[in-house]
Symmetry: C2
Subunit: 336 residues, 2 copies
DNA sequence: CTGAAAGCGCTTACAG
DNA sequence: CTGAAAGCGCTTACAG
């Protein structure tokens, strides 16, 4: 618990001035190779560790990125946050992360705390509600911030938005279900009125409209529990439904369990397609067809985009849509 | 993008000295109520935000906690990390979090980065291997650190350890399976030789020894994929097995899928008990019996323990075991 | 109860 | 290529 060594200690042991040590720390090319080696040796010798907070007081970039997520326990968001964090880490940044549990007040609070901690930029998958309380302080502090996965601020000039192309995904999935011979396709799950729900539903509505088929929407929470319950309700109230496009994989996995429970065979008589392609999809029985958003790749690309903004001033496009891909598995196999 | 206001600006607008502003910031009781109000008003007026890095340079506590997790995509660890982070946040701390993907080298790297960032304490669910590279620098920096969920450093005086009481959990679960009439119980999943595996297996071995029954161990990765495959292998190679205690819920859920795939009914002819009680257990069909570790509560209690150490110097016990509870569901119902 | 001064560990011009 | 000085925004004794 000694006082930690500083650049002054390093300078003394290496026999140079502290400015020189600072230059070595920042890999300046203007230090002689020999001197550089001596300094590094001194650092190792006395166990010097760089103090970023101190450095941050003079220059700007603290190397801290704030990662604020509406529902971190949901595997979809976990995957996103984890790949983003790892990509940042590989680039020398650390991530301060917070789960907001869909609570706008909590979100505003953690964002303020992160501003105090001096984060250099934000990636926010926002909760719905009271957007000003969160984005106001960020704007005032002049900190770059991207909204991802959900757009809550229309001002995408200040807060660029990026998300997978949900609309196309749901259209392609619906067309696929029609191709397999499904006559009555339900859209199951997703809280009514939310932007994400609307988007993931709109491709479905488009595809059905083109085919001249009536939609059948069963809104609800994006959870396994809802999916499970929905399987029963759908069978009871809309017996004619022979397929379901689910808001996300959790709902779809829940429906799979629900169908098992009521003895409904999935794949032949009843087809299910999920959304996101979380890991479980390939592991359940029957395996689950889904729309892959490559959320890990999305997280990595967000890290790139943000750092390009931060380091090189390359402003992200106002609205980015990343491609998605339909993955056909046993839950909606054409022949079966 | 203006220069952000400092306490000097606040002092000027409030007509006091900057020391007074500092006292107000730290809620010192020695400032007159009137002055305090004036200062707060000035802060709000000019949009002052506290700069913790600067504060940290003089005093100690940065209010940053490092949270280092071996497998953040695993729902068990996600739940732990999320509840811990939220508890810290509620107490005014921010969490810098990193996933190490079971890579000791990556772990050493992120830990060093966090030390540079000045984290005040660590909670580490460590990867196996090269422990010195991670814990050496922490010890040298004199930063409080707890190892949780897995013990990799025997020196628990320096690095206190805490985890749920796995041994009791697996013993109780095994006794339960014996009670339901199971004659041949397999232990499925868990990488051979690891401390966690040994612990989760030891209660099983104890219970079987007491009952005079032979163990049947099928080691492997702690994943759904392994569980699914194991279901088939178990049926093929050890047809007499009529129950399985799984290393964790992922393996158990995988076995559930695997049993569905090979047409083996779970609950009656074949019983399954998982470990951890992740959310899915209550949602799948049949619902999964499991050993609940209350990992959310565990996360919260770790936050308390760590902050008590940090703020009040209360050293955690060297080794803590938190209670677990058997949750019986349909996958191992006695009567069925 | 409030003010003036020093210092935390760095970086940044500016000299040499 | 290297050194001496000032300053980042706070807190901490120390006076008053």
């Amino acid at each position: 618990m000694e006082r930690r060594p500083t650049i002054i200690d390093v300078a003394r042991t290496a026999g140079v001035s502290k400015s020189t040590v600072s230059l070595v720390l920042r890999n300046s090319p203007q230090v002689k190779e020999e001197t550089r080696a001596a300094v590094r040796e001194a650092m190792a010798g006395i166990g010097y560790v760089y103090n970023r907070s101190a450095a941050n007081m003079r220059s700007a970039n603290a190397g801290l990125i704030g990662l604020v997520i509406n529902d971190l326990r949901n595997p979809f968001f976990t995957e996103f946050a984890t790949s983003l964090q790892m990509a940042l880490s590989a680039r020398g940044y650390a991530a301060v992360v917070a789960n907001t549990d869909e609570d706008p007040a909590l979100q505003a609070q953690v964002v303020s705390a992160m501003i105090e901690h001096g984060v250099s930029a934000f990636i926010i998958s926002p909760a719905y509600g009271d957007e000003q309380a969160t984005f106001g302080p960020i704007a005032r502090a002049g900190i770059p911030a991207m909204q991802v996965l959900r757009m809550v601020m229309p001002d995408t000039e200040s807060f660029p938005f990026a998300a997978p192309d949900y609309l196309t995904g749901s259209r392609v999935a619906t067309e696929h279900l029609l191709t397999t011979g499904a006559k009555r396709i339900a859209f199951v799950g997703g809280v009514e009125g939310r932007a994400v729900t609307n988007e993931r539903m709109s491709g479905y509505l488009e595809a059905l409209a083109s085919a001249g088929v009536e939609p059948l929407v069963m809104s609800g929470r994006a959870s396994r529990a809802f999916g499970r319950e929905a399987a029963g309700r759908l069978a009871a109230e809309f017996a004619e439904a022979d397929a379901a496009l689910c808001f996300n994989d959790l709902v779809a996995l829940g429906m799979l369990s629900g169908c098992a429970e009521i003895g409904r065979a999935v794949g032949s008589a009843f087809k299910i397609v999920g959304f996101d392609d979380i890991e479980d999809c390939a592991q359940v029985y029957p395996t689950l067809s889904t729309v892959r958003c490559d959320i890990a790749g999305f997280g990595e690309s967000m890290a790139e985009t943000l750092l390009a903004w931060l380091e090189e001033g390359i402003l992200p496009p106002e609205r980015t849509r990343t491609p998605v891909e339909l993955i056909v598995r046993d839950s909606s196999r054409a022949g079966s």
